[in-house]
């Protein structure tokens, strides 16, 4: 039992930190532009595909460095020539634009790379078990993923709160007019933040690609979960996104690792149902089975009872 718990915790943390890399960019972009970028997970997918193609020539490490840069530049271009144009038509148009972009990126990936799963592998250097606990191995690559994510988290925290650029960014979020009056190029800052956010998503894709498989549906798998996180954490709140990322990562990990379900619960209550009962599906449901549903359930509950999320302040 203990080993299951420890490994579920470790895996949950790996997923949680990975989700935070996506959620941090998404929530920063939201607090700047007031638009939820539906295509954010598509940039994550682009990161994985670029890294795969680059790794064929420059190895894994080349992909790790260059793929996020390419994705970041692409993101900045999208902001400059797409979003900025749509901005005049209002928030709904912006949301719909990013939605269409997600659709287009998925199609473009199938156009350039095909529909099949890409054989994007972990580097040989990290292909060993980091430690063995209760006879179960924890791969070095997962440790590497966690290290990168934590490093990014610390760097992001440091840049945003301590550096001059971070202070300007924070000021531009709340008082864009004043920042502009002080002589800073606010549209450029927006473009930079968008590019940085998408580059982070790209980096998440690079390191997640080998573990979560690189295929055209990988954006859809993570896309809505990242939304759930930024909403649960509170729109625009970076610490909230951090807590929610870990929460969702651990929640899903525990749910999958557990083996309890309705039969156990009913057994405790001393109730039993016949297999032919019309609600048989409900009575035989177990936790791993409903694991994919849990984040959405949480989302709906949070939105009903606390629409601002865990740490959100903004009231629309």
């Amino acid at each position: 039992m203990l080993e299951v718990f420890i490994f579920a915790t470790l895996n949950g943390l790996v997923t949680g930190f990975l989700l935070f890399m996506l959620a941090s960019g998404l929530t920063l972009i939201f607090s700047m532009m007031g638009v939820l970028n539906f295509a954010h997970a598509s940039f994550y997918m682009l990161g994985a595909y670029f890294a795969y193609s680059l790794s064929l020539y420059f190895g894994f490490w080349g992909g790790l460095i260059f793929a996020p840069l390419i994705v970041g530049v692409l993101g900045a271009l999208v902001e400059r020539y797409g979003l900025r144009k749509v901005h005049a038509s209002g928030h709904v148009a912006e949301l719909v634009f990013t939605f269409g972009l997600a659709f287009l990126i998925e199609e473009a990936i199938q156009f350039f790379w095909g529909r099949d799963t890409k054989n994007y592998q972990t580097p040989d250097l990290l292909d060993f078990p980091l430690f063995t606990l209760f006879g179960q191995e924890f791969s070095a690559y997962r440790g590497f993923m966690m290290t990168i994510s934590i490093a990014i988290f610390i760097a992001l925290y440091y840049v945003l709160t301590k550096s001059r650029i971070g202070i300007i960014i924070q000021a531009a979020i709340t008082h864009p007019q004043t920042v502009s009056n002080l002589g800073h190029n606010v549209p450029l800052i927006f473009m930079g933040v968008f590019g940085m956010g998408t580059a982070l998503a790209g980096l998440a894709g690079v390191i997640a690609g080998p573990v979560l498989t690189t295929f055209p549906g990988m954006a859809a798998v993570l896309g809505s979960i990242v939304f759930v996180i930024v909403v649960i954490g509170g729109l625009g709140s970076l610490p909230g996104a951090f807590i929610a990322s870990l929460l969702i990562g651990l929640l899903q990990s525990y749910a999958i690792a557990s083996d309890v379900g309705m039969p156990d619960l009913l057994g405790l209550l001393g109730i039993s149902f016949d297999r032919s009962h019309p609600l048989n599906d409900l009575w035989t449901m177990n936790l791993p089975q409903i694991a994919p549903v849990l984040p959405y359930l949480l989302l709906v509950l949070v939105l009903i009872f606390r629409p601002t999320g865990l740490l959100g302040k903004r009231e629309e």
């Binding site: 749509v86 659709f103 199609e107 473009a108 809505s224 599906d281 409900l282 629409p307």
Partner: protein, 410 residues
């Protein structure tokens, strides 16, 4: 007389709906027409939310799908003679279930519009799509459930085995649904929906609960989406999880947006165009989804009010009798624009094709030779610059056509 004038457009719509299968009578055409009328009802119901009520939903397929699932269950019940009624009423069952789902979900999701509403709709959509795979006795798991529409009492000798018979059923239902959706926009509830969309605060000040107004639109929208789901169930006789997941929700958003949200006719245009693209283009190119994505993004960027908005833009020029000023610049721009589009498609297709020869518009192109590429690229580049130059003239002509006449100014 006034009533006749008002209803003439509806009579024309009804005649068009009933007359279309007489003109296009192949099996393929009938199946496309069936899809089209279903899509029209679905897209119009979506427009009640987004276009008229200002609620951006990413989970509208839920009501379509739930209505469809219950309709297929109703078909099964008819087949086993648990219930006896004509399958003509199936869409009503779908609609009622869509309404029920709308009442339940709307009771908590319509409190706010904007991002909160969009996120709740996304969450509910994912929730129901994911749970539909868990509760397989009702939803049939990945395979879905299927029924048979030929049971039940006959209707004047029709047993509805043919697609054309279903078309007439669907067309009549679509006509009724469209009429009622239009009438809804004319009711106080429909007008208030517009007011709440534009300025909820002011609507609250005159004493309307913006939540209640949104709730009414939401329920009505669920009802009509359910009817569309029922029509889908009748047409295909099966339904799967795919019909209530995010992809279907996305498609209806595309339809309504490309057609034009602000206008009642917009979603109808969008539904017709997208259904045609879906069924005709997919025969020619496996990349049609890519084109659809590009078209969608261009629409959002350059025609934020959709096709219908583009047509309505010409209202002023039309009233002033200045349309003739625009015809020539339009043609001058349209020809190179079309040429550019054709070249771009050729380039995209050529980079994807594996055959030796690429048959395109009666030409036989050789994708392996660099000369083909250079020629097409040159033509595309030339066309692009011609468009860019003629756009200036078009803009001038547009200004002249829409200018306020001198005497009016004075």
């Amino acid at each position: 007389m006034a009533l006749l004038k008002k209803s003439s457009i509806w009579i024309a719509f009804l005649i068009a709906l009933l007359g279309l299968p007489l003109v296009f009578d192949s099996i393929l055409a009938i199946s496309i027409l069936n899809q089209m009328v279903i899509a029209i009802v679905f897209a119009l119901s979506y427009n009640m939310l987004l276009g008229q009520g200002g609620m951006l939903s990413f989970g509208h397929a839920v009501y379509f799908g739930l209505g469809g699932f219950l309709s297929v269950h109703a078909l099964i019940l008819i087949e086993f003679e648990t219930m006896v009624f004509s399958i003509l009423w199936i869409p009503l069952i779908g609609g009622l279930f869509g309404l029920l789902a709308g009442i339940f979900i709307g009771s908590f999701s319509t409190r706010k519009a904007g991002t909160v509403f969009a996120m709740i709709s996304l969450g509910i959509g994912e929730l129901i799509a994911a749970s539909s795979l868990i509760f397989s006795s009702f939803f049939g798991g990945e395979a879905g459930i299927s029924g048979d529409r030929t049971f039940g009492p006959m209707f004047f000798g029709f047993d509805f085995a043919q697609n054309i018979e279903i078309y007439y059923v669907a067309a009549l239902w679509a006509f009724i649904a469209t009429l009622f959706m239009y009438l809804f926009t004319q009711t106080p509830a429909g007008k208030m929906a517009n007011a709440v969309r534009d300025n909820p605060e002011r609507a609250e000040f005159i004493g309307y609960s913006s939540r209640k107004v949104r709730f009414i639109s939401f329920c009505a929208s669920g009802l009509f989406a359910g009817i569309a789901g029922g029509l889908f169930a009748l047409n295909y006789e099966f339904i799967t999880e795919e019909n209530l997941n995010a992809a279907t929700s996305g498609r209806v958003l595309l339809m309504a947006y490309i057609g034009g949200l602000g206008y009642f006719i917009g979603p109808i245009i969008g539904a017709v165009v997208l259904t045609l693209m879906n069924s005709l283009l997919s025969n020619y190119s496996e990349l049609w989804m890519l084109y659809l994505g590009i078209m969608f993004l261009l629409t959002v960027m350059y025609l934020p009010r959709g096709f219908a908005g583009f047509i309505m833009m010409h209202q002023i020029a039309w009233i002033r009798g200045n349309m003739k000023l625009l015809i020539k610049p339009y043609i001058v721009t349209a020809i190179p624009a079309l040429l550019f589009t054709l070249c771009a498609i050729a380039l995209i297709e050529m980079s994807h094709i594996e055959d030796e020869v690429f048959h395109y518009l009666g030409l036989e192109l050789n994708p392996a030779s660099p000369i083909t590429w250079i020629v097409i690229l040159a033509v595309a580049g030339g066309a692009f610059f011609t468009v860019k130059r003629s756009l200036v003239q078009l803009n001038d002509a547009w200004e002249t056509a829409n200018a306020i006449p001198k005497e009016e100014e004075a």
